[in-house]
Amino acid sequence: MGLVGETPDATRIRSAWMISGRPTAAMVRLDLFSTLTALAPYAVVAVAAALTGFVLQNDLNRVQEDGLLVISDPFAVSLYGGVLLLSVYLAAAAAMVVAREREQGAVELLSYGPVSAFSYLLAKFTSHVLQYMILVVLLLGSYLLLAVATGLRLRGSTLLAMALSIGPAAAAAALGLLVAALIRRVRPTILAVLGLALGTVGLQVAREVLVRLPSPEFHVNPVQLLRWAAVAVSSITQWLLPFGYVDRELSSMLRGDLAEAVGVTVVAGVYAVLVLALAAAGLARTGIRR
């Protein structure tokens, strides 16, 4: 019932909040509580920070050995690796949570109440994006500590790149949810997400290697063919898979192209929404029963 003096719109908003918003918020709170009291997210940040330390140490050694190292941003490689690692973790974690909860019957239990497939997935998505924000802040903290310890400067663009990486990270979480909605079982779900992540990275590496390879002067040039194939496939996966958005966003930012980086983040956000809707349809189709 609406309050006295409430407009019909306000009543509708209140009703929508009661029916969908409140359950979603409750699920987000429980998920965040469960995730942040677990060890895995901190372990991932610790690995990313350790890798950064290793890269910086390596750079400093080279400076000591050669006397000079020309590098535009000492944190660039670490940032790339760290954000990619967090995104892959986020996709795998989101996929694992949904697959596990479906297998255990938690999704069915929630469906006894006012929880739809979409609000369930929206809650998982939101909690994972919030989790990513917390993890990025922790990673940033480790960068600041390393910057102070090494005397290397942490550039503003690095901070901005980290902030904008939320779009690609959201896309990664949405993809994890889609995979879990379609596959159902925990182990195949995790393998599929990791396969997609490694496939994207592997394809990107193959493309870079092939582009740099000299082409032999044959009538039918196999390197040229492979190069075309790698470029064609990676051009598609760059848009179809979220890890491509991570790559594009960070590359734009490290080039100093803020407008493009913002654009990539926005497109990644749209991608996340579309994939989330697909995941909800997939979950409704494959069924929420264990």
Binding site: M18, E108, P114, I288
Partner: protein
């Protein structure tokens, strides 16, 4: 006329050609306790899940409070409390946190007081701060019931609600359900235990192989399932052709001798031990002992063969 709280219309569910529920027509009246009875695999859980919109019917419709379920399932489900057959309990949280989460999910006003009252009522107050993974199956079942009652539902859908409970727990839950029903809550209990349904339900629907074979009140069902009592007689010595002679008596339905043992099924409604004693004596037999056995309603139900159920269907 009041609309039934739950009504199904030719509800059917098939899985790859296998019929789980067929043309089910069930009506649960407001304030009623409806027992949904049947052996495992009869289609009870499938029906319940269709009522919640978790499984999509192959055909037919479900009406809750007179409106098709698909009209606004989320709003309707706020009025329902459910205990599933194998409820998942988040085992890393305490009973208190578990219920607080669901209170939050349903928007329960004054959750602390409500949770405390329910835990107290179900005897879980002392363990409220323990993680659910340390709970016994019975405690988990009670926690599920507390969760289902948190938002003060108008309709309770319970799938085997006393499974895993000890006798004290069963009595506690039964009392609670009767109390809730007195306060106006409509209850739909699915169970394979006739004894449980018999003590709580006003009306019973019997499912068999996906079909509702009978829907009646408990007294009517009791009359239907009543079986003739059996007399087990021990003789001093075997008497030739005693069974044939006993079958001539109008009260004897069946008679079978096995050496010194005689089993006679007699017509229900009166004590026929005197008649049988006289007949045995007339045939030259001496009775050493006699034991009368009146089947309970549960035994009668359990001994019903598939063929008998099929006869009801036809």
């Amino acid at each position: 006329m009041t609309e039934p709280v739950v009504r199904t219309e030719q509800l059917t569910k098939r899985y790859n050609g296998l019929v789980a529920v067929s043309d089910l027509e069930v009506g649960v009246e407001p304030g009623e306790i409806y027992g949904f009875l049947g052996p495992n695999g009869a289609g009870k859980t499938t029906t319940l899940l269709m009522m919640l919109g978790i499984l999509k019917p192959t055909a037919g419709r479900i009406y809750l409070w007179g409106r098709p379920l698909e009209d606004n399932p989320l709003a309707v489900k706020r009025r329902i409390g459910v205990v599933g057959e194998h409820d998942y309990i988040y085992d890393h949280v305490t009973a208190d946190e578990y219920l607080r989460f669901f209170a939050d999910l349903y928007g329960v006003a004054n959750p602390t007081a409500r949770i405390g009252a329910l835990l107290d009522r179900l005897g879980l107050l002392k363990v409220r701060t323990l993680p659910a993974r340390d709970f016994s199956r019975g405690m988990k079942q009670k926690l599920s019931l507390a969760r289902a009652l948190l938002h003060e539902p108008e309709l309770l859908l319970l799938d085997e609600p006393v499974s895993g409970l000890d006798p004290h727990g069963i009595v506690d839950v039964r009392r609670l359900l009767l109390e809730l029903n007195r306060n106006g809550v409509t209850i739909f209990i699915s169970s394979h235990l006739l004894s449980e349904i018999e003590q709580t339900a006003h009306r019973v629907g019997i499912m068999h192989r996906g079909r509702l074979v009978r829907q009646d009140t408990i007294p009517a069902l009791r009359a239907l399932l009543r079986q003739d009592p059996t007399l087990e007689v021990e003789l001093q010595a075997p008497v030739p052709n005693l069974d044939v002679q006993l079958l001539k008596l109008p009260v004897v339905r069946q008679a079978q001798t096995n050496g010194r043992k005689l089993v006679v099924t007699v017509a229900s409604g009166a004590d026929h031990r005197g008649v049988i004693s006289q007949a045995v004596a007339a045939a030259g037999g001496v009775i050493v002992g006699m034991h009368a056995h009146e089947p309970t309603l549960e035994e009668a139900f359990l001994t019903l063969t598939d063929a008998a159920v099929e006869r009801w269907v036809s």
